[in-house]
């Protein structure tokens, strides 16, 4: 993937750069247009820092009318546009293109309405995920999806990526918590999908927009549902001699009808890295460590803690601690939450993967990863959203050693192939972006991909919005629209009729 092929820059656009910058300054007056290379440097990459590219120009609009005019201008002139929220994508979704306007939505940073009787918040897309919770927590409410970047990531970006988080097994992903959006199409048209009510009429365009990685439209307003905070939360910290036992414990918890607020697993390398870093008191003699958090009324949490403890012991846990205070609960989480920087301490660089597998396949996938680790000569540590099968293998490498990045990427690709092979998928929550783009054929046939691209054609027929992301090979919409059917030549076997 290091030899990532992006769409070839359009010469006509490159030649007209000065004119385009001047026109952008007319549409977005003031400080909203950045064209100096040193100032654009801040936008050259997102959370996938292995890739960097300066855009043609950075535009930071402030109004929906400006977004609409920028997009229409670019659409009319065949200029590419890359939308960006806070730039925390881990898959390169906001990686700029040399010939594209980078449309940065960070100045859309206001909460527009808070409505407690209807339990909704209307926010501009640049408001951070945590910013929504901050706006309503004085009344005891919160916004449930909690990606680990929630202090920085924007709600518009959450819509683009269908972001999840530790609590999404019980409370759902972004798609399950957003009621409506306002968005601008590449042709400048403004449309509203959904609103303050449930289930929009007509086709579920909100459903397809959520997780579309900035390829279909630019979100300019988001309506989310907020929830009342659970009365209390307690956690168990459970160690197992084998990952099989840990996996079976998770299956038995769910089999008992319990859906925990959070359920996280770590393997031995991740446990050791985390313990060395934050001294959370994790047991070091176990192969799998499970954190199970139960939230709700105190009586419910107490009831379920007892049930989960019995299930853990039944599965041969060697340690099982139950948090007796809020401080202790947070200490259980401290190691898990610091897992990424902890791994960063034991390796110069690490590469975070994001496959999802059927949970029962965990032992097989972990064994496969150990073999791959030996094959590539690179270490790997695993953290795992155990409840929903979302794996985050962290591949350890050193970017200063020539060839190691390539090796790490090949290792990562093999892990994702393994995930697909056991019935899983390429990405659970980080998105395809540029990172997993060329792996899409591992999961989808050309017919599958063509039909996805036809969805793109309905929104953006000239492939101007965020091209080079998600799809390994862009096909022109006119070509995709052709039908190869010939009357009378289609096989028509004996189909029962009456």
């Amino acid at each position: 993937m290091s030899g990532l092929a992006m769409p070839k820059p359009d010469d006509a656009t490159m030649r007209r750069r000065d004119e385009i910058v001047a026109d952008m300054r007319i549409i977005v007056p003031g400080e909203g247009v950045v064209d100096a290379a040193n100032a654009m440097r801040a936008f050259e990459s997102d959370g996938l820092t292995a890739y960097r590219q300066l855009p043609l120009v950075v535009v930071l609009p402030e109004t929906v009318a400006q977004v609409s005019r920028v997009l229409k201008y670019c659409n009319d002139r065949n200029i590419r546009v890359v939308p960006r929220g806070s730039g925390t994508s881990l898959s390169g979704g906001a990686l700029p293109l040399e010939d594209a306007v980078l449309l940065v939505m960070s100045r859309f940073n206001r909460i527009l309405a808070i409505d407690f009787p209807n339990r909704i918040v209307v926010a501009q897309p640049g408001v951070t995920n945590l910013g929504i919770t901050s706006a309503v927590e004085q009344e005891g409410f919160y916004y449930a999806p909690d990606p680990s970047s929630q202090i920085a990531c924007s709600i518009g970006g959450n819509v683009a990526e269908n972001s999840g988080g530790v609590h999404c097994l019980k409370y759902g992903l972004t798609a399950n918590n957003v009621l409506g959006i306002e968005m601008v199409l590449m042709n400048g048209e403004v449309v509203r999908l959904g609103g303050s009510h449930l289930d929009a009429e007509g086709y579920d365009l909100l459903g397809v927009m959520t997780g579309s990685e900035g390829l279909l439209g630019v979100v300019t307003e988001v309506t989310v549902r907020i929830l009342k905070k659970p009365e209390t939360a307690r956690a168990l910290l459970i160690g197992f001699p084998t990952s099989e036992q840990g996996g079976q414990c998770v299956a038995d918890i769910i089999g008992a009808g319990i859906i925990p607020g959070g359920m996280e697993m770590m393997d031995r390398p991740a446990i050791h890295a985390a313990e060395d870093f934050v001294h959370a008191g994790y047991p070091l003699d176990v192969e799998a460590l499970l954190i199970v958090e139960l939230d709700g009324p105190g009586v419910e949490v107490d009831h379920l803690i007892t049930a989960v403890e019995a299930i853990a012991i039944g599965n041969g846990s060697t340690t099982c601690r139950i948090s007796q205070s809020e401080q202790e609960r947070l200490s259980f989480w401290a190691g898990r939450k610091a897992a990424f920087p902890a791994v960063g301490r034991i390796s110069p660089d690490y590469y975070c993967m994001d496959g999802t597998i059927p949970r029962k396949e965990l032992p097989r996938v972990l064994a496969g990863m150990r073999e791959l680790s030996a094959k590539y000569g690179l270490g790997v540590a695993n953290v795992f959203h155990a409840g929903d099968g979302n794996l985050h293998p962290l591949i350890l490498y050193d970017a200063n050693v020539p060839g190691e990045l390539d090796k790490a990427e090949s290792f990562g690709a093999d892990i994702l192939r393994l995930c697909v092979k056991v019935g899983g998928v390429l990405t659970g929550e980080h998105g395809v972006g540029v990172e997993k783009r060329d792996l899409m054929p591992e999961m989808f046939s050309q017919v599958d991909l063509d039909q996805q691209m036809r969805v793109k054609c309905a929104f953006d027929p000239n492939h101007l919005l965020n091209p080079g992301k998600v799809f390994p090979q862009l096909r022109r919409c006119a070509e995709l629209g052709r039908m190869h059917v010939h009357r009378g030549q289609v096989a028509f076997p004996d189909i029962p009729r009456f």
Binding site: P117, R119, E201, V299, E300
Partner: protein, 418 residues
């Protein structure tokens, strides 16, 4: 007039390929339990999926179930119940309202109509639980989307796009849903004698508490008697359902009683009596009267609903009841006229949403847009999307809006766009 009854995905594919080649429209049908919803169709041929059946994968510990699209919902619900699980979104049954048998409907129809029930409030609709699909497009090509795992952002979520498409984008052959444990205990708290506005305030208070109310309905006076075999009597009933483990349910019910004690007299209804009541609310039992009086399904911001209904009552004779804390309003038009313009105008004045004419005589369904008309840019986008899936308009043409070639929603007339 031919009815094709495929028993395999390959037969579905060859039927569609034939229809595409002939340019011959098909009515896509499961059990036909929702056949009366939408504009009446005039297709020569029918693609009947009711023999494309069978659960192909069910792993309770993985919370996942796959089935052929024509598998009866009743069969799936029975299998899940045997394992202490359920479709948490509680898909409703339109059969009784539309004069059909109860208990019909296929799993494909559940997705195509994006069904849900009173638990929609907390647990979402079919769209929130669909994990993956295999379908045949109107280009005569089979494609898949999604998978069998809960967390998946690989490619566009085409599975959600199929929800509420009413058979106009693609023919489903296989669907995979997330399933969840069924609640161990269920108790409903009924507040009696509240007027609509007081009920709206009580429901908002309850839903704004940490009691985790999973369903909230208000049955006004005279409507209440038409659920659960009249067990509630005729006095208005505001129903709050609490589900979960026994000790937790008891605690949360007690908390709600403290919170709402001043709102009016309270009753507790537990177990099967509670389940029966919610099933009747879910299936619109109060309006399942064997008539063709128009019935509307209105989705709107919950706290605005009672005001909208109050204004409507001044201009038309209607019966109404509320689910989803008020976010779902069921309306029966007592004088036989759907009053579409009046209702949709009021809806726009009360925060917007959508009104669907789920029951009406065929003449009304042909004349009145059954589905909420969309503003021009959105209608055009929907039409483009339809053309990308079904360029020859062979799937259920006209069901969602007039026009032989267009199966997308009507366009809102000037001045009516929100």
């Amino acid at each position: 007039m031919t009815t094709f009854t495929p028993t395999t995905s390959e037969e579905v594919l060859s039927t569609v390929a034939w229809a595409v080649a002939e340019g011959s429209p098909l009515e896509i049908l499961g059990h036909g339990s929702k056949r009366g919803i939408g504009r009446p169709l005039q297709t020569e041929h029918t693609l009947d999926l009711s023999k494309l059946t069978g659960v192909t994968l069910y792993e309770p510990a993985e919370l996942v179930l796959s089935a052929k699209a024509g598998t009866p919902l009743a069969e799936i619900e029975k299998l899940l119940a045997e394992n202490g699980q359920q479709l948490a979104f509680e898909p409703m049954d339109y059969g009784p309202l539309l004069g059909g048998e109860p208990g019909k409907g296929t799993i494909g129809g559940v997705l195509g109509a994006n069904l849900s029930g009173p638990r929609r409030l907390k647990a979402g609709a079919a769209r929130d639980h669909i994990l993956g699909i295999n379908v045949v497009s109107g280009r005569g090509e089979p494609f898949k989307s999604g998978g069998r795992v809960v967390k998946n952002v690989t490619g566009y979520d085409m599975s959600k796009l199929m929800a509420n498409s009413w058979g106009t984008l693609a023919v489903f052959t296989d669907v995979t849903f997330k399933v969840l444990p069924a609640a161990e205990t269920e108790v409903t708290l009924a507040l009696r004698g509240l007027l609509d506005d007081a009920a709206a305030s009580a429901m908002a208070l309850a839903l704004g508490s940490s009691a985790e109310v999973s369903s909230a309905a208000h049955l006004p006076e005279r409507v209440a008697t038409r659920v659960a075999g009249g067990a509630l009597g005729s006095e208005a009933a505001t129903l709050l359902r609490v589900e979960g483990f026994g000790p937790s349910v008891a605690y949360r019910i007690a908390a709600l009683k403290t919170l709402l004690g001043k709102a009016g007299p309270l009753e507790e209804i537990a177990g099967e009596a509670s389940q029966l009541m919610w099933r009747d609310v879910r299936d619109i039992k109060p309006f399942a009267d064997g008539s063709e009086k128009p019935v509307w399904r209105v989705s709107m911001a919950p706290f605005h609903a009672h005001q909208m209904v109050l204004t409507l009552r001044m201009q038309a004779a209607v019966s109404a009841f509320y689910d989803w804390q008020g976010g779902l309003v069921w309306l029966r038009m007592e004088e036989g006229d759907p009053e579409a313009a009046l209702l949709r105008g009021l809806l726009r004045k009360h925060g917007g949403g959508h009104a669907t004419l789920v029951r009406a005589a065929p003449a009304h369904r042909a004349a009145v847009p059954v589905f909420e008309p969309q503003p021009p840019p959105l209608a055009a986008l929907s039409a483009r999307l339809k053309a990308e899936f079904d360029p020859k308009a062979i799937f259920n043409p006209g069901r969602m809006a007039p026009g032989a070639g267009s199966a997308t929603l009507g366009v809102a007339t000037e001045g009516s766009a929100p």
